[in-house]
């Protein structure tokens, strides 16, 4: 793409950094929602370049990190059924469930496959009529249209051997849960660009008003992130709060109409338990009544006992912006990418893994106020 290199141009980055330094007079805490943004910020060393007054905290926008242990147990249970192929995005395989990970049951002989797209899973079902193919449909709003589309395609093809284990999560309810927390100290949000590409911006206006919190819809490249940070700091320094769109090359205010239609055709909004954050009302998608035969939970009568979260993992505090990865006593000791205790150490978009792989010790940890 013609513009992609420009968005990574070190000279451009420098201009933004200088401007952010110039206008910042007070300490501010900003949260980027999306794990892809966390990854980009840490990998490109942007956290080191910001003024010390600006504290970036890393939100819950990593689907791998927030998928609950109970749902991973469900996926593992399905994977172990004879004649079943459990398909998933790659990162989900290494996340520990209550006893094992999908990778471990795969090593024990279960048919677990890593796919790039749910549409490949539909093809797999078509090609293997004697197998039950289940797609582990995790993700935020960005991924929901593709997962919904897989159900619609399977329905067009009249497949009886395709279903999805849906564990979709939604950004705005999570933002509200974080802002409504009594310990909250977030002054402004960078909203997730591709989530807004799908859903548009309407849902965020009430949040801006209710919590008097600036929100800037932001992209993923270094220049995008820095412009998003600059726009947020400009608002904070001026004492105003509004919704702004940095990522206008991809995000329109009304979102993508076809994508929203596709989502609503297949999914209903319901309550969802988040790993680390607990139950958040109306914060997830589940397959609706019309497409119930594609809902793996109903198809296989899943009714497993709820699993306990690992108490040693403080990912909840990290995703609420109360702590940073290095403040976890297990970081880099008991918890490393090869042997993760918690999900944020697994995914490349998890804050703990990003810090482990890319950040150097010069990254300032905030003085804990807890």
């Amino acid at each position: 793409m013609k513009y992609l290199s420009e968005y990574r141009d070190p000279e451009m980055v420098e201009v933004f950094i200088r401007e952010i330094h110039r206008i910042t007079t007070k300490p501010w805490t900003l949260m980027e929602i999306c794990g892809g943004q966390t990854h980009s910020l840490v990998k490109n060393g942007i956290l080191d370049m910001l003024p010390k007054e600006i504290n970036m905290v890393h939100g819950p926008g990593c689907p791998v990190c927030v998928t609950s242990i109970s749902v991973i147990d469900e996926a593992i249970h399905l994977a172990k059924q004879p004649g079943t192929v459990l398909c998933s995005f790659g990162d989900m395989l290494r996340v520990p469930g209550s006893a094992k990970s999908l990778l471990e049951v795969k090593a024990e002989g279960a048919d677990v496959r890593i796919l790039y797209s749910p549409l490949e899973a539909v093809q797999l079902a078509k090609d293997n009529p004697d197998k039950q193919v289940v797609f582990f449909a995790v993700g935020f709003e960005t991924t929901a249209p593709a997962n919904a589309l897989s159900v619609i395609q399977a329905d067009h093809l009249r497949l009886n051997n395709y279903s999805i284990l849906a564990s979709h999560v939604l950004v705005p309810p999570a933002m509200e849960a974080i802002l409504g927390d009594e310990e909250n100290r977030i002054d402004a949000f960078l909203a997730a660009g591709h989530v807004c590409t799908i859903m548009g911006m309407e849902e965020y206006y009430p949040i801006v008003e209710k919590y008097q919190c600036p929100i800037v819809v932001t992209g993923f490249e270094p220049v995008d992130l820095l412009q998003g940070i600059l726009m947020a700091v400009q608002q904070l320094e001026a004492g105003i709060y509004k919704l702004e769109n940095q990522y206008s090359r991809s995000v329109q205010r009304e979102g993508n109409k076809m994508a929203i239609e596709t989502i609503t055709e297949v999914f209903d909004v319901g309550d969802r338990a988040w790993r680390g954050l607990g139950n958040i009302p109306q914060s997830g998608y589940e397959v609706n009544e019309r497409y119930r035969k594609y809902n793996a939970r109903l198809k296989f009568n899943l009714d497993l006992p709820a699993a306990e979260e690992n108490k040693d993992c403080i990912s909840g505090d990290i995703m609420k912006g109360l702590k940073k990865p290095r403040q976890c006593p297990n970081f880099g000791t008991r918890c490393v990418p090869e042997h993760p205790l918690g999900a944020p150490m697994v995914s490349s978009e998890g804050a703990c893994a990003a810090y482990f792989h890319y950040s150097n010790s010069s990254i300032q940890e905030p003085v804990s106020t807890l």
Binding site: M1, M12, F89, T197, R249, T262, S347
Partner: protein, 88 residues
């Protein structure tokens, strides 16, 4: 996982109905089959953002230039160019 990657549509390969509209999208020379249902307005030559095999938006080229015109407005780019020239 919400990452979407920009690519250029090089061919519309299937247009059976809305669900199955698909095409070949080039990512820096590597072609992949992509579902185009969510971008009915997109045609050959357009840039689309692709996420897990589905195009989710058409990249607006004018909007893509905005960030850089913003920098120009700040007068910073000229200043920077001057600086760079003097360095060379």
């Amino acid at each position: 996982m919400c990452l979407a990657i920009p690519g250029k549509i090089v061919e519309i390969t299937a247009q059976l109905d809305d669900t199955f509209r698909s095409g070949k999208v080039s990512f820096g020379g590597i072609n992949k089959q992509v579902n185009l249902r969510m971008v009915p307005e997109a045609g050959v030559g357009d840039y689309v953002m692709v996420h897990v095999g589905v195009a989710i938006s058409v990249v607006d080229e004018d909007e893509a230039q905005k960030v850089f015109s913003y920098l120009k407005e700040m007068g910073e780019v000229d200043e920077l160019n001057e600086e760079l020239k003097s360095k060379n």
